[in-house]
Symmetry: C2
Subunit: 414 residues, 2 copies
């Protein structure tokens, strides 16, 4: 950052530039540009002198995840990824944006919800809308005709967000797909099995999996005399029924998902076949039959967060096993040495970043963050070559030789 | 996908629409729109009739990660995350885009490398350029004055990519930062320790960590008579020296990083203090001192990928422990039953998606993907209530009761 006096001088000069332009009735564009420069300078200054107040927020429909939310997210992801791996799936990743034309013609009227990047020269790009189209592009591009893969990543939709209900403009999708020409409907069955396993392990409460075939619906439409050109629109309406009804009806058992209070949370997973998509990318239209499921993870995060909020159990945001503390002053170096020895043994350890922290504040840090053990160094202990190891909850204490401590700590580990 | 004949009819009609508009000398915009519709229809048809050839590629400077690359990426991330957790760090996440003004005035002349989103109505947005500015915005927004956090996520720069050297327009950053007013330089020291631990564990070869203080450099400039306004430019040049020299000099020991062949790979980590950044976001300019390091993970991926390529050891892309196979026909249901039992026991198991796969192709699948065990079902085995368990590499076989198999498999696990 530049020197304060220098900045104030620059702000003064820039202020004059703006006033001059205004008095000369310069173009709005020109004035705006110089005003922006002025605001930037003021922002650099900070403090009350900088009148320009930053809008401190994330973009509409998006959010940060704080450490507590991340701890929950990690737990959910671990359950899901374990399931995908148990079923022998590989994983891939793709860029967050695709060539605009890769997404063109894939989403019907929902295309208006696609985020485009500004044309800054070069290719026209769009943020991915789901993980299915990039997957199909990947298969066609690499001429892959069979693969069982999962992909967990964020996707982007310029939708009207309902964030309290776990609906965002930036949100995760957890996709599991099987591509390839296979017998019977074994891959389809495995997709259902995966949804069952994941929802079971997440322990969200009762759920119901609905299985259908578009061709049955098409048949019903045909019988009802629906004209061909209205098939898509009516299909889309029927698809939305499930999302509408739970809000109106109060019989949880009739709904897709219901939590341990019996309140329905609507649909948390979906999937199906898309045998034609890869062929849309292949220059020769070669088809690769695909089937897959997507777990609606944001809604699941919401439920888990509410559960954590309601529960008395505290969510830990670190995995620290021991805090290295001191009971007297001037022991910083000794604390750091012991912490270092613990790190070298692979033990998760912390030390307060203070020269002479009070023992009480060190113990408080353990209680606040859930660190189970505290290793207390004192002058007497150092003389005897030992360390006091205290269980933060039970307050039980043992003395151990510092040289043995690492091994002991490993055994005491949760 | 619509019926082929229907599509061909639609293409014909749409072709007539385009011809009519052209003959009527309609506006370019109008014609373009109808041509786009025509191309979309043709693309849906696929095959040779669809003349529109998709450009099958990822955006410039970006890449997909295939399963092998993902396996390596997971390994590297595990080492890095373990280290961050060992040091008691929490983690956060932020959206991939920020309000454009959040990034304004933070990157000097590098601002031209920022990806902007198209103005589609609403806020002006940009893709994040690093994880440090979103972190500072997060701290100011939530009035957080101390935290030790890591953040692993992709960032975006419209740079000239040198992909063979691991430089991309979309790339990961692995940041570890300590925010807060603390004694001495304990947090600074911990950052160095973290870089040391990570580079050591990644086993990339010899490395050298250089520690400096901008104020020393500033002092040298002052002594040399560099005018104040040239400080920044010269600093930036000095900063680039390290990146240039390794390509010219051939003494690996003199360079930042050198791999097991002695070839320098340049800088793989960097960091420092940024005590003023959070204050730029705070309406009252309140400062939060920060220090952090960033691991240049893409370059590390490149090195690890090259190593894996050169090594005789095969990189496994799945973690499957056992393939459930059959030696005879008509045993699909039995194979699925056993696979299901294994999944229920938490064992990673696969089954080929064929009604009657040949035993040879089932064994080949194990060899190709590195599955260590195969459980072979046959009519005789089913009668006896046993299953043949074969070690794919040693071809050693044992017979076990199917009811006991799950437990046995757990013990035999890798």
């Amino acid at each position: 950052m530049a020197d304060k006096a220098q900045l104030q001088e620059a702000i003064k000069t820039q202020g004059e530039v703006v006033r001059k332009l205004k008095s000369e009735k310069a173009s709005k564009e020109q004035i705006d540009e110089e005003v922006a420069k002025l605001l930037q300078l003021k922002a650099q200054l900070g403090g009350d002198e900088g009148k320009h107040v930053f809008v401190l927020k994330t973009a509409k429909g998006t959010r940060d995840y704080n450490p507590k939310q991340m701890a929950i997210r990690e737990k959910v992801f671990n359950i899901i990824i374990s399931c995908f791996k148990r079923h022998g799936a590989e994983t891939i990743d793709s860029p967050v944006f695709e060539l605009k034309e890769t997404l063109t013609g894939k989403y019907g009227e929902d295309s208006k919800l696609i985020y485009d990047l500004k044309d800054q020269g070069g290719e026209l790009l769009s943020l991915r809308y789901d993980l299915t189209v990039p997957f199909a592009r990947y298969l066609a591009m690499n001429k892959i005709t069979n693969i069982k893969r999962y992909h967990i990543a964020k996707v982007y939709r310029r939708d009207n967000p309902a964030m309290t209900r776990g609906r965002y403009r930036e949100f995760y999708q957890c996709d599991f797909d099987i591509a390839g020409q296979y017998d019977a409907m074994i891959p389809d069955a495995e997709c259902l099995k995966i949804v069952y396993e994941i929802l079971n392990e997440l322990d969200l409460g009762d759920f119901r999996i609905k299985v259908n075939d578009r061709r049955i619906l098409d048949g019903m439409f045909a019988v009802c005399g629906v004209p061909d050109e209205k098939f898509r629109t009516i299909c889309s309406t029927v698809d939305k029924l499930d999302k509408t009804i739970p809000a109106l009806v109060s019989t949880p058992a009739e709904q897709n998902g219901a939590d341990e209070a019996g309140v329905s949370v609507g649909s948390v997973a979906g999937g199906g076949r898309y045998d034609g998509l890869v062929g849309m990318f292949d220059p020769k239209g070669r088809k690769v039959p695909c089937v897959g499921v997507s777990i609606g993870i944001e809604r699941i995060f919401s439920i888990m967060e509410q559960k954590a909020e309601a529960s008395s159990e505290k969510v830990r945001t670190t995995e620290t096993q021991v805090l290295v503390a001191s009971a007297q002053k001037n022991l910083l170096e000794e604390r750091l040495k012991l912490t270092n020895a613990l790190w070298n043994e692979g033990i998760k350890a912390e030390v307060l970043y203070k020269k002479n922290p009070k023992l009480l504040s060190q113990l408080q840090h353990c209680e606040e963050t859930g660190i189970p053990l505290v290793a207390i160094l004192g002058e007497q202990e150092l003389k005897d070559g030992v360390v006091k190891l205290r269980n933060v909850v039970s307050r039980e204490e043992v003395k151990t030789f510092t040289t043995l401590m690492c091994r002991k700590k490993k055994r005491l580990d949760r």
